[in-house]
């Protein structure tokens, strides 16, 4: 074992009441050992990995004693997910139909050019595999979770997409991220998108896969002045997978960014979304649908930071939890002292589809100036018994009637998806996810 591990262990030991420390400690040691193996390799990304490794050593590993991890246990990782690397798949499994004319395929974090349709002129693609220099993370201080640092420290492959100034793409770019393994293991996926000034692009991130594989995902998006971004984060992996992801979005001056996050629960799903409003005139719109099924766990932590005046953000997230599923939502709006004229809204609405399901939702506002418009609200309810009876009295069987009402609950979000291909994907996806949510 190395110095870095020892130093973390020492720090942990120095803390007052180490109730759940053993697991966190064990996982931290595994993460370090894993990161060190990669960080030692010498290539164009070495400095990047070394810096991340140092950060990883400094951060305490999450335990349920940490407020941000209160509702999410990492016990599921105790099966050795951080020890074993998910295999490189020599033979590519069957892939689903693309959602866009340009599709980049990553399998267990590794880019497969032969399975991909490369993006058009005006978009450059750089592989983050150490073969070329790449700028450090767009916002290192934004990568606040140990898993994001682990992603950087252990990075072997990833994609950097740059859309040149003034380029307007008339169709989306899809990045398909497949995670698949038969044994408890992990993969890291890394994706960075940079939109140039005055450009327009749509990115579809689609996560699929099965098996006890932990996908540790980091996506960073920066957009240039007066640009337009549509972003989808579709997380449709099977229920036995694990996913811990970070999304960092930093919109440029006078730009417009819309992000749609559609996901179904799995053995462990945790998303940390951080939106940095650091340019005036920027607007960010975040929408999402979360479906919990079986005994799955879905935790979304969203934080919007308004650091400059006159930026706008709105968020609408809807969750539905069936069977014994659990949904956690924490939506934080932080308005800094200088951010006058900020307009920020947050709404999280949840529907419990069964008595065994659970939703924990919390809005947080932190406001340090008076000249702002800010609203937030969260609700949690169940299916309307009157509406259910109405549908059944018209001959619609109970399960179908319930699905219909659940669809109705999120329909405003579905019908607002700007790309037809995604809508056509989303409707059957939701139908399946809701059907799975019924089964006890």
């Amino acid at each position: 074992m190395t110095d870095a591990v020892t130093s973390t262990a020492d720090r942990a030991a120095a803390r007052p009441t180490p109730v759940v420390e053993p697991l966190a400690q064990k996982l931290a040691a595994q993460a370090h050992s894993l990161a060190e193996q990669t960080a030692a390799s010498s290539d164009a990304l070495s400095a990047w990995r070394q810096a991340a490794l140092a950060q990883l050593a400094r951060l305490p590993f999450p335990s349920k004693k940490t407020e941000q991890w209160k509702y999410t246990s990492l016990m599921a990782l105790d099966a050795g997910h951080l020890v074993t690397q998910a295999p490189d798949h020599a033979n590519a499994p069957a892939l689903p139909e693309p959602l866009a004319p340009w599709r980049l395929v990553l399998i267990n974090g590794r880019f497969h050019a032969d399975l991909s349709q490369l993006p058009p002129q005006g978009v450059s693609l750089t592989r983050l595999d150490g073969s070329a220099e790449a700028p450090l993370s767009i916002a290192e201080d934004a990568l606040r979770t140990p898993f994001a640092w682990l992603n950087s420290a252990a990075l072997q492959d990833g994609l950097l997409l740059t859309v040149a100034d003034g380029v307007a793409l008339d169709a989306p770019i899809e990045v398909l991220l497949l995670g698949s393994a038969d044994v408890a293991s992990h993969c890291h996926t890394r994706l960075r998108l940079q939109l140039g000034a005055g450009s327009r692009a749509t990115l579809i991130e689609r996560y699929i896969g099965q098996g006890p594989v932990l996908t540790n995902a980091v996506t960073e998006i920066t957009t240039g002045e007066n640009s337009d971004l549509v972003h989808y984060r579709l997380q449709a992996e099977a229920a036995d997978t694990l996913h811990i992801g970070s999304l960092i979005l930093a919109p440029g001056r006078d730009s417009r960014a819309a992000s749609f996050q559609l996901m179904q629960g799995n053995a462990l799903r945790r998303n940390d979304v951080r939106v940095l409003m650091t340019h005036s005139g920027a607007s960010a719109s975040l929408n999402g649908i979360f479906v919990g099924r079986g005994s799955t766990h879905t935790d979304n932590q969203i934080c919007i930071e308004h650091r400059v005046p006159h930026a706008v953000s709105d968020q609408l997230f809807k969750g539905m939890a069936g069977d014994k599923a659990r949904l956690v939502f924490n939506g934080r709006i932080h308005i800094f002292a200088g951010a006058k004229g900020t307009n920020a809204e947050l709404s999280n609405k949840n529907l419990l589809l069964s008595p065994g399901a659970e939703v924990d939702t919390k809005p947080e506002l932190e406001i340090y100036n008076d000249d702002v418009k800010c609203s937030h609200g969260t609700t949690c309810g169940q299916l309307d018994a009157q509406a259910l009876f109405y549908l059944r009295s018209r001959g619609i069987a109970e399960p179908a009637a319930k699905r219909m009402l659940a669809f109705g609950f999120v329909n405003e979000l579905l019908s607002a998806l700007p790309d037809e291909a995604v809508v056509e994907w989303a409707r059957p996806w939701l139908e399946r996810a809701l059907t799975e949510a019924e089964h006890a």
Binding site: S393, R394, G395, M404, G408, F409, N411
Partner: protein, 252 residues
């Protein structure tokens, strides 16, 4: 078609129906009238299978089958239709989507030929016109933001498309202006046929000017107090219910 024998029913532990008898044959139109709180809505709710309405005695038979053994959707499949007194608003589910699911499930259960999307849309549009409802309403959420009259016409539209064998109309006339009342009445009358039965629950004789019943019943205190022909409705209009319910209250 519908045989109700000594039916007792309670809501939240309170007895509402106390030995109701009613026999409705195919081809007939029955009107059930009565004062507030007499059990009229309880009757339609019990028949259609709404949660919370408990049959505590007697039985209601639809074509010889005990309805209490059927789920609400199975009652619909058996040909029963309830036009709601207060139709429910369901935002996010379009009227057309709802009709499609309803007709698909019901027609399948009834062994009728399914309608393809084009036929469904054509029929739905025609029926909208029949009840004076703008076909644009098909795209809107079920009853979402509809006026009282529009909701009632939407009920009649569903009824006409589903072609029930037994239609129960729970105060469909309440809150309607005279034009809407006529539209509703036309819709109901167009459904009249020798193999269908219609039960109208209403406060007012007014509706019966447009839908002429074969039988009129007075429901009070959870029982049918008096039955007669259409002239009974006129008598009630003149005299009110007092003369019947007073009789009932008097010591035997």
């Amino acid at each position: 078609m519908l045989e109700i024998k000594d039916l007792h029913a309670s809501v939240a532990g309170q007895d509402i129906l106390k030995g109701l008898n009613l026999s409705v044959k195919a081809g007939e139109v029955h009107a059930i009238m009565g004062p507030n709180g007499s059990g009229k809505s309880t009757l339609t709710n019990v028949l259609s299978g709404r949660d919370g309405y408990q049959i505590t005695g007697g039985q209601a038979l639809l074509d010889g089958h005990d309805v209490s053994e059927l789920d609400p959707e199975q009652r619909a499949h058996a040909g029963m239709f309830l036009a709601f007194q207060y139709p429910v608003e369901i935002p996010g589910v379009s009227n057309l989507e709802f009709l499609k699911a309803s007709l698909e499930a019901t027609r399948k259960a009834q062994g009728k030929e399914p309608w393809d999307a084009v036929t469904l849309l054509k029929k739905a549009r025609e029926t909208c016109k029949q009840v004076d409802l703008d076909p644009q309403f098909l795209k809107r959420g079920v009853n979402e933001g509809f006026s009282g009259g529009e909701k009632k016409r939407n009920e009649i539209m569903q009824m006409l498309l589903l072609e029930p064998r037994l239609a129960l109309l729970d105060e469909t006339d309440s809150g309607l202006d005279i034009d809407a009342l006529q539209v509703v009445a036309r819709g109901v009358n167009s459904l009249r046929s020798p193999d269908r039965a219609i039960v109208l629950v209403t406060h007012y004789q007014r509706l019966l000017d447009y839908i002429v019943p074969d039988h009129v019943h007075v429901l009070a205190g959870g029982r049918i107090l008096k039955s007669g022909g259409k002239e009974l409705a006129l008598e009630l209009e003149q005299k009110g219910y007092g003369w019947l319910t007073d009789q009932e209250d008097a010591p035997a």
